[in-house]
Amino acid sequence: METQKNYADTSEGFLRTLGVNKESLVKVVKDALSGAEDGELYLQKIEVSGLVWNDGRIESSSFYSDEGFGLRRVEGMRTGYVSSDIISAESIKKSGEELRGVFAGGKTYASAEKFSPQPLYPQEIPAEIPIEEKIALLGKVDAYVRSQDSRVTAVSVSLSQAREEVCIVRADGLFLEEFRPMVRMNISLTLVDDVKTGTGSEGFGGRENESRLFKDWQGYADKAIECARNLLVAENCPAGEMVVVFGPGWPAVILHEAFGHMLEGDHIFKNTSAFVGMMGEQIAASCVTIVDEGSILGRRGSLSFDDEGTKTERTVLVKDGVLAAYLHDRLSARVLGVKPTGNGRRESYAHIPMPRMTNTHMLGGLHSPEDIIKSVKKGLYAGNMSGGQVDITTGKFVFEVLLAWRIENGKLTVPVKGAMLTGSGEKVFLHVDMVGNDPALDNGIGACGKNGQSVPVGVGQPTIRIRAGGLIVGGTQVNVIEEMI
């Protein structure tokens, strides 16, 4: 990264908004949280501008801004939270009083580790790119996609840019603030051929400046077109138990949803995860190593420090198949008597933080992706996932494969659509028997929902093979073997 001006040089900052200096803000927080065991003031300003291109023209041009604070007071297992979109020293003080009123107090405040954050993304708030240039870009993407295939009937392109400023103030004097950029482009299209319809969609982005979108779109547009072409001719998916090979990158959404969530500290201390008490035990095949890494440069799930002011890090969750760590915010770390891992995150100032993943990925292994596919006589290759859902208590999950291929005698033969993968999160990674040497992170499109809060995340993995018995493929193909009743 080029040398960057730092946030404080280019922003008015929150101290200006509040009309106070750092020392007196810390004092306000100290007073508000007196007698508390933990807690902090979280200040946030965010501006999001978005453009949506549809049907050959701009369909919507939008801008929203939001700002506010959340004051959190923790005593024991209990959290009190007051949030408001009026940032003022007065309203923070008042919130502190409200919280003191419902708590016993008299606790000792748990100090947090002090550090100087190393920014992982540009800290200079960038000048806005004129809207005319962005509209021209969207038109160019549309024209490009249409020029690639005469069967294209609809193209939709959207871009969004978020400029977020965050400040965290703790009663022990920890004061952190930074700029958190986020950009995203999405390209989707519909192909129609006689009666068949195929849709394709690709997105990319990260914690970067908007200029990135002007450079990188063409490769993603090509991928979206290829996906639509394949879906146009895709057959219905066969159903049953079979070997499944996952492609690199985004298909790791299963790793995040069906496995990662069960390693979040709150699910552990609330005893709602199948991995409670399994530390040191084999929970995945020995070829599997999984990390959560908030400290990668510029990725969608990256943060220099989490939303409680803990430095983010690389946490090895599973080492050679053995459970090595859980993910913690400050509360779950305290309850379980370990150090916080920098995974305390929140959607906004109006939300209470909880343990969340950042960039969660499986490390590369020994096999080339070609060898992995070659090894399968009959199975399914899941190259692009739509999304899925998991019941954290039972570990049961369902994922929809956007585009899959039949594997027959070591070759990808026909594209298939509508494959639904069902399995159990605690078991599926025990069935991994080949790990590719092509690890990749996704393109920067993930959003994770938990208890009604959405945060941006990254996922990644190499090509992996799940032997038969790990997953059930539920297809849309109707000729399943009729059961004799």
Partner: protein, 437 residues
């Protein structure tokens, strides 16, 4: 609130005109939320949140842009308005961006608002909400077989909304909502099951007794214990009331004017006026019902809330349109829908199930595998196995699949729809693919 907002809107409108704008619409919202959650008899979180917001849409001829934010001062209101003007000027023309004409407004808004009874007067404290949650949790935990609480929460919200346009629209209303959510877990270790129960009302007194809610949720978690996949087969699937309104959701999505215009729905202009459900099926949107959660006097564009027959005697009556999609399709917009429901059928739920030799009763879904463009339907599901007309054992880890076009035509509704709580009756759909072991 209305007068203050009206003054502010007037100021914004004159600023827009001064910048060369030709029209504008402006809405204000204000909200106060309270939420408490408990677990294992202890208060876990208490959260109070206040927010306000402005959404401004500005026209320069046919160029239009939308901004929103939560300005704190006159200066910030002005800055936001100026940004909207700058954005609109830069945008290309949009012939389909319109302001609602007077013919679409309610005639007498204050009368509408008072008829609809949108707001309760009860304002619970955080402690009151915690107490409600504790009551529910207590009832759930006392069910034999429930091993622990997955957390219980209660919330209340008071909000107001005001809309002004340069065409002269002026309307405002306040409303309330209360909600609870409870989750219970049965079993231990590798054999656990979970059930989540939620309820949302506009009037506090419309809640079921809290003890009953807790008991039902706990019993359901226990009933689901030991769920396992079943062999793949084609069989009748019964959608319990907990999930049957999802079918209405798919219909609602599929008849959205914007999708019809884009040809991105499995329903299309040719389907309009033709049979898409069996004869007895009527599906209605009615936001004019007093006290119900989905009622409103006018929607976000100022279009009056009115009863719409979407499906009558099984025949698709109309697409739902806003100003933009109405203009694209060349029809008068219907405005937003509310309290969308399917009218009751003739048979009881028991009779519906009694006729099934082997089938699946679906209580919940995992995953959202529905493709509205093609109607392909494939969702992870859990519930109970039906054998010889009886519910025999819990099932999970299965996928149910079909195509919405065929599924719609095979629907048999029971007569247990309860407007405002369960907006569709229990539904039976034969011949679906159930993929399991």
């Amino acid at each position: 609130m209305k007068n203050k907002m009206k003054n502010r809107a007037d100021k914004i409108f004159s600023l827009v005109r001064k910048n060369g704008g030709t029209a504008a619409s402006c809405s204000f919202s204000q909200e106060e939320n309270k939420e408490a959650s408990v677990r294992d008899g202890e208060v876990e979180t208490s959260h109070k949140d206040d927010s306000h917001g402005l959404t401004l849409r500005v026209w320069f001829g046919k160029r239009v842009a939308t901004v929103s934010g939560n300005p704190r001062s006159e200066d910030e209101y002005e800055r936001l308005a100026e940004r909207a003007c700058a954005m609109a000027r830069a945008n290309p023309e949009d012939p389909f961006a319109l302001l609602a004409p007077k013919e679409l407004w309610p005639e007498n808004i204050p009368e509408c608002v008072s008829f609809l009874e949108l707001a309760d007067t009860y304002s619970p404290s955080l402690a009151d909400l915690a107490e409600i949650a504790l009551k529910i949790e207590n009832a759930g935990l006392s069910v034999s077989g429930v091993s622990h609480s997955g957390g219980v929460g209660a919330e209340s919200a008071k909000s107001s909304f005001a809309l002004f346009t340069t065409e002269g629209f002026e309307g405002a209303y306040s409303e309330t909502s209360y909600g609870i959510g409870a989750s219970f877990i049965a079993g231990e270790g590798n054999a656990m099951s979970q059930w989540g129960e939620g309820e949302g009302v506009r009037f506090f007194s419309d809640f079921r007794p809290f003890e009953e809610t807790g008991k039902i949720a706990g019993e359901m978690a226990v009933a689901l214990l030991g769920a396992a996949p079943i062999p793949s087969s084609r069989m009748p699937v019964v959608f319990d009331r907990y999930v049957s309104d999802s079918i209405l959701g798919h219909l609602k999505h599929a008849i959205t004017g914007g999708l019809i215009h884009q040809k991105s729905s499995f329903l299309n202009r040719e389907t309009l006026g033709s049979r898409i459900f069996p004869f007895g099926i009527n599906i209605v949107s009615d936001p004019t019902l007093p006290k119900l959660p989905g009622s409103f006097p006018f929607d976000r564009e100022g279009i009056i809330g009115k009863r719409l027959d979407l499906v009558k005697w099984g025949v698709l009556q109309r697409f739902t349109t806003n100003l933009q999609s109405g203009a694209k399709l060349g029809v008068i917009p219907t405005g937003s829908t509310g309290n969308l429901h399917m009218e009751n059928g003739k048979v009881s739920r028991e009779e519906l199930i009694a006729g099934i030799d082997r089938g699946l009763l679906v209580m919940g879904f995992l995953g959202k595998g529905v493709n509205i463009a093609t109607g392909d339907y494939s969702r992870g599901a859990f519930g109970f196995l039906i054998e010889n007309g009886q519910i025999t054992r819990p099932v999970n880890g299965v996928t149910i699949a079909g195509n919405l076009r065929d599924m719609f035509m095979k629907i048999v509704p029971a007569n247990d729809m309860l407007l405002g709580r369960f907006n569709a009756p229990t539904l039976r759909i034969d011949g679906m693919t159930v993929a399991g072991r």
